[in-house]
């Protein structure tokens, strides 16, 4: 089989890509796009929960009940959950690729990352949308004030 020798000084060209989606490129784009959105979502989350009012002192079941009885905060927190978990896990995947030198170790660690992403996103989404701010039988003083209003 004859080997073709390129003319000297011909520009470097990458081997033609195999067909299919360039996942690494879209992962790279995702980190930047989701990062920008997460700056807004997380700074908003921190300001509302830790800075305004009594800050962390005010956080209890009734506080969460008040927030998640509003679809605005349900969507906010759900978006934050999905974007942050995928952003974080993809970042951890980069670290695993960089620092885990054995193929098996990388496989185990990346499998654990995928597992935790699927479990926690599912759990978190279910919690946000099946949450009852006024559970029956709970002491009224632990619940949001609107629970006893009716």
């Amino acid at each position: 089989m004859a080997t073709t020798i390129e003319a000297p000084r011909s520009p470097y060209s990458r081997a033609p890509r195999s067909r299919g989606i360039n996942w690494e490129k879209w992962g790279w784009m995702y980190m930047r796009a989701s990062g920008l959105v997460l700056v807004v979502l997380i700074f908003g989350h921190l300001i509302v929960n830790l800075v305004l009012g009594d800050g962390i002192k005010a956080i209890d079941f009734a506080f969460v009940g008040g927030k998640w009885s509003n679809p605005f905060w349900q969507v906010w927190d759900c978006l934050m959950l999905w974007l942050a978990m995928i952003h974080g896990a993809n970042g951890m995947r980069t670290l695993v690729n960089d620092y885990a030198s054995h193929r098996t170790t990388r496989g185990i660690l990346k499998g654990a990352l995928l597992f935790s992403v699927i479990v926690l996103i599912t759990l978190g989404t279910l919690v946000i949308f099946t949450f009852d701010p006024c559970p029956a039988g709970a002491p009224a003083d632990l619940l949001a004030s609107f629970c006893s209003a009716s």
Partner: protein
């Protein structure tokens, strides 16, 4: 004080475009340390996120269960941990914007060093606003 000197000379030495040695963005000094900090803060935030989703999920168990765990977050030692967490988030956020500017803004690589100090400046301002506010909340909760 070579650091300060290089800092003041940086804009001048950067001025002739195309004269800088290539491939120095991530080797040593600001470029490398911002990268190191971005990784460390990213890992810390990721593991907190795992815990935070689980602790928040306790609202689905019982109001008492959620409140019990939240009361541990109001402990002063945890309060210092939350301060460190917010510090990590603020750095990761501002440096992330710096990375986006390096990647997409034509002059980004040229100003990466300046932008690193802008990141540090914004971080200091953010923490100066947040830390007193949060620590007062945490320490006034003591004994409750």
């Amino acid at each position: 004080m070579s650091r300060t000197e290089t800092g003041t000379h940086a804009p001048g030495s950067l001025a002739p475009t195309g004269k800088r040695p290539q491939g120095t963005l991530y080797r040593g000094r600001e470029g490398m340390w911002s990268w190191v900090l971005h990784r460390i803060t990213g890992i810390a935030i990721f593991f907190f996120l795992l815990v935070h989703i689980l602790d928040t999920a306790l609202v689905r168990v019982a109001p008492e269960a959620y409140n019990a765990v939240m009361s541990t977050y109001k402990n002063p030692i945890m309060g210092l941990g939350e301060t460190a967490l917010v510090g990590a988030i603020a750095f990761h956020a501002y440096n992330g914007i710096r990375i986006i500017l390096i990647d997409f803004w034509t002059k980004g690589p040229k100003y990466q060093k300046v932008m690193f100090y802008v990141v540090i400046g914004l971080w200091v301002v953010t923490m100066a606003g947040f830390v007193p506010r949060h620590l007062i909340n945490v320490f006034s909760e003591m004994g409750h």
